[in-house]
């Protein structure tokens, strides 16, 4: 099928036109091609919908954020630290009804295919070996991270949209080294928009042969992430929680986060059962913490005034 000449439109990509023309034939942009082209036209008797189901890019996001900016969750961590596994676990638990309570029911998702793709690897397949780690999230040419969407209905009847950024670890590594790096635009996007930042500490890496490098990378990344979060929610998430890490190492990691932002909550997740703790539990705790995110209101400071009249300066900082 043809491409829509509009730079922002992905109407060729199995979704509707970005201006909202359900029938492409009515779209003025699309008609520009139609007149000159001889290739197959979309069936005029068929309609498309404006979401593909896959992870959302920066401009696909408008479909959801037009209503209001979703609570955006940035998962910040180096490569293979288990970021995608966290997302996959969330989705699987959601599918089993084990993620949320009655106060907040799953309502919808416009990225079901994206979630399925992420979770697919953690499922047992008939005639296949056991689940394995999700494949590496590649740093595709697209500069925006793929965003996965979920909406929950709260008790008061309102909807709460959540958006999870599934971004490759390379972005964060580049970003931790050079904030302005041209390859770190996606990381900058996350740092700017994330309402919640999950800072991933990979226990396997921190216990492995390259633990020094891993610690160093974490410290750099933590510094950046904490500075970027500017008082927004931030949590330290230990992944691969079944792996033992030297207590002194744990202390260093906590210090890297805690020195800049005290009282950072900590979560530990693992796909293995740890003692009496079911694998699901860590993910559930983390998710309900994410779900209770609320942006505070704004108390605007009174604006600056010139002059020495006390009356006008009264009550101002």
């Amino acid at each position: 099928m043809d491409r829509c000449p509009h730079p922002k439109c992905s109407a060729d990509d199995n979704i509707t036109c970005w201006q909202g023309h359900i029938k492409l034939a009515y779209c003025p942009e699309w008609r520009k091609v139609v007149q000159t082209s001889t290739t197959a036209q979309p069936n005029p008797d068929e309609l498309a919908v404006p979401w593909s189901g896959s992870a959302l890019g920066e401009s696909d996001l408008n479909f959801i954020s037009g209503k209001g900016k979703p609570v955006t969750v940035g998962i910040v961590g180096p490569e293979s630290s288990g970021k995608t596994t966290v997302l996959a676990a969330f989705y699987l638990l959601l599918g089993r009804g084990n993620l949320t309570s009655e106060d907040s029911l799953f309502s919808n998702s416009y990225t079901l295919a994206g979630w399925e793709a992420v979770a697919n690897n953690l499922r047992w397949k008939p005639g296949q070996q056991a689940p394995h780690f999700p494949p590496h999230t590649t740093s595709r040419a697209a500069r925006a991270p793929g965003m996965l969407h979920l909406a929950f209905r709260r008790q008061d009847g309102g909807l709460r949209d959540l958006l999870f950024a599934d971004a490759p670890g390379e972005w964060f590594q580049k970003w931790s080294i050079n904030q302005q790096s041209s390859e770190a635009e996606g990381a900058r996007w996350i740092a700017k928009h994330a309402d919640v930042t999950l800072l991933i500490a990979d226990r396997q890496a921190l216990a492995g042969p390259a633990k020094g490098t891993a610690r160093n990378e974490f410290q750099l990344l933590a510094q950046r992430a904490v500075a970027g979060s500017q008082g927004r929610r931030l949590a330290l998430v230990w992944t691969k929680g079944d792996v033992e890490v030297a207590p002194a190492m744990e202390a260093q990691i906590r210090k890297a986060v805690g020195s800049a932002a005290p009282d950072v909550p900590e979560f530990t997740v693992s796909v293995f059962k740890r003692g009496q703790v079911e694998a699901a539990e860590g993910f559930q705790k983390l998710f309900s913490w994410i779900l209770e995110t609320r942006r505070p209101g704004v108390q605007l400071p009174t604006s600056e005034v010139a002059g020495h009249d006390l009356l006008f300066r009264y009550g101002r900082r």
Partner: protein, 277 residues
């Protein structure tokens, strides 16, 4: 005259929609239910083969239409309330493809816009229950063997949700508030093969928790019922003695939300008609 109901029946292939339609039609014909026909149906092609197979006690092979056709039946109940039952037929795999290819026949749009009630047929028995890390914990995680998997089937649960999401979009309904209209009824078809005594709603909640959450959070008061259009499994080739003698209208039942069994398989529709359109 109160506004008329327009009841849309949605189901993927192989959920027993044609059998239900044929049984429904048979009930209307022999007037063994509380509903009456209220004029001629538009197109009964999809159901005539099924009707004759069932008369002999055989299951039918529904040959799906290659294009979108629909069958519209005007009906009325004892109180004189009228309704239109709309049976869209979009050909075999098309509903699955609907979600996959993300193209919907334009005629659907008119239907979903006009519908006052949606009846969704789900056949729980044929849905895959997949095991994952949480239902079957791992002993050993097979190392970081990275293999990019490009081909996979989305879960049945996700596909069913996506289907309804697409219909909601086409019907220009937004989910800002829970929906009062169109009302939603979920019919769990082929109830007999489930061999359960669970309440329909409980069973749905246990089998498809995410879908059930989706339904409950977005509709004001969804209804879930069990449906066995045939009451027993029929063979395609060998006729069933009892069916042949007593007639298919003597078979089939619904399980009401409170668990009670009723022979009148038109009850789900009657209940919808009893409510203001």
């Amino acid at each position: 005259m109160p506004a008329q109901h327009s009841i849309l029946l949605v189901g993927e292939s192989n959920v027993g929609k044609t059998h239900y339609g044929a049984q429904f039609l048979k009930r209307l014909m022999v007037e063994s239910c509380a509903l009456k026909r209220n004029g001629a149906a538009t197109n009964l092609e999809a159901f005539t083969t099924a009707l004759s197979s069932l008369a002999d006690g055989k299951a039918t092979d529904h040959t799906p239409a290659s294009t979108y056709v629909e069958s519209v039946w005007p009906i009325k109940d004892e109180a004189g309330r009228t309704a239109e039952l709309v049976w869209p037929d979009y050909g075999g795999e098309q509903v699955r493809n609907l979600v996959k290819q993300r193209r919907i026949p334009a005629a659907w749009r008119e239907r979903v816009l006009a519908a006052t009630d949606w009846v969704v047929l789900l056949r729980l028995h044929s849905l895959r229950a997949e095991d994952d890390l949480f239902s079957r914990p791992l002993q050993v995680f097979t190392g970081p063997e990275i293999k990019e998997v490009t081909e996979y089937e989305p879960s049945d649960q996700a596909r069913t949700i996506e289907l309804l999401q697409m219909l909601l979009y086409l019907a220009q309904l937004n989910l800002d508030r829970k929906l009062r209209k169109p009302r939603l009824t979920v019919l769990l078809s082929c109830w007999d093969e489930l061999e359960t005594s669970e309440l329909p709603e409980k069973l749905l909640a246990a089998t498809l928790p995410m879908f059930w959450s989706f339904v409950r959070s977005n509709w004001e008061s969804p209804t879930v019922m069990g449906l066995s259009a045939l009451e027993k499994a029929l063979s395609r080739t060998e006729s069933n003695e009892e069916y042949a003698i007593r007639g298919p209208e003597e078979f089939g039942y619904v399980i009401l939300p409170d668990g009670k069994k009723d022979k009148d398989i038109t009850l789900p529709i009657q209940r919808l008609m009893a409510q203001p359109a």
